[in-house]
């Protein structure tokens, strides 16, 4: 169990690093093939639509910081409750700060890597 939690923390750190580097390809590798992301409340995205949205979002070179509030791990499935802050720019290029508490479901792959199955950044709001 502690090994799994350690892996999860490593996952989050690597995700944050890729996010802040604007590295879409690395970031995308942290999502399962069927992953659902809900960056706009009520509008779940999957597949190519999810990738397109995220690629565009990262192009503004946002910076994220996260604090994991709770984590539950059972077998190859985890639920994380995460406070996050993103500093980015709006459509006019003005600084914009986004905050929320995410509800994330992760799956442990056979390769030992945790990946988002559901990424719901405003899930707890």
């Amino acid at each position: 169990m502690s090994q799994l939690l350690e892996n999860l923390e490593k996952h989050t750190a690597q995700y944050v690093e890729a996010f802040n580097a604007g590295d879409f390809e690395t970031l995308d590798a942290f999502y399962t093939e069927e992953a659902v992301a809900v960056w706009e409340p009520g509008e779940p995205l999957t597949g190519q639509a999810r990738r397109d949205y995220q690629r565009e979002f990262l192009a503004r070179r946002p910076k994220i910081s996260t604090t994991t509030r709770q984590s539950f791990v059972t077998g190859d499935t985890a639920l994380l409750i995460v406070d996050w802050v993103i500093d980015t720019v709006d459509d006019q290029g003005a600084p914009e700060r986004l905050t929320g508490t995410g509800v994330d479901v992760l799956r442990l792959g056979e390769d030992g890597i945790w990946r988002y199955a559901v990424d719901d950044p405003y899930g707890q709001d």
């Binding site: 009520g42 999957t46 059972t74 077998g75 499935t77 479901v105 199955a117 559901v118 719901d120």
Partner: protein, 141 residues
């Protein structure tokens, strides 16, 4: 068992399915049956339930369910969102529970709950993790 299940499901071998409405219906019926052992079969052995305020699995979870459901609390729940990603799903529900306290007094609980469901190798969907957040009172103290 003198309980009338209006949606057919096998109480010995339940399947919550990937259909949100059926999930909610079966969950409500299992909960409202007052039968903790039956309700526990909606969970895998190592699934985590936070109903008690603590993450419980296995025998501790079963013991809690039996105790909590014994006074036959009445649960109402409404699904607010559901995301299915392959063999895992995240469900959000708004719930209210009317039950009886230790001294026979009525207790009303309500809040929101996040549920993670998994499809097992036998194809059945079951509870993997639940995480209620109570808006009034606690589910259990």
């Amino acid at each position: 068992m003198a309980f009338d299940f209006s949606t057919d499901f096998d109480p010995e071998n339940p399947d919550l399915t990937d259909n949100t409405e059926i999930q909610n219906e079966i969950f409500l019926q299992a909960f409202n049956s007052g039968d903790g052992a039956l309700f526990n079969r909606l969970y895998l052995e190592d699934s985590i339930s936070n109903f008690s305020g603590e993450p419980l699995t296995g025998a501790a979870r079963l013991a809690f369910f039996k105790e909590f459901l014994a006074p036959k609390p009445s649960l109402k729940a409404e699904v607010t969102h559901a995301y299915v990603a392959g063999d895992v799903a995240l469900i959000g529900v708004k719930y209210s529970i009317d039950t009886t306290g230790e001294n026979g007094e009525p207790v009303h609980l309500e809040g929101v709950c996040t549920d993670v469901l998994r499809r097992g190798e036998d194809g059945r969907w079951l509870m993997s993790i639940d995480r209620p957040v109570a808006a009034t009172g606690l589910v259990a103290e």
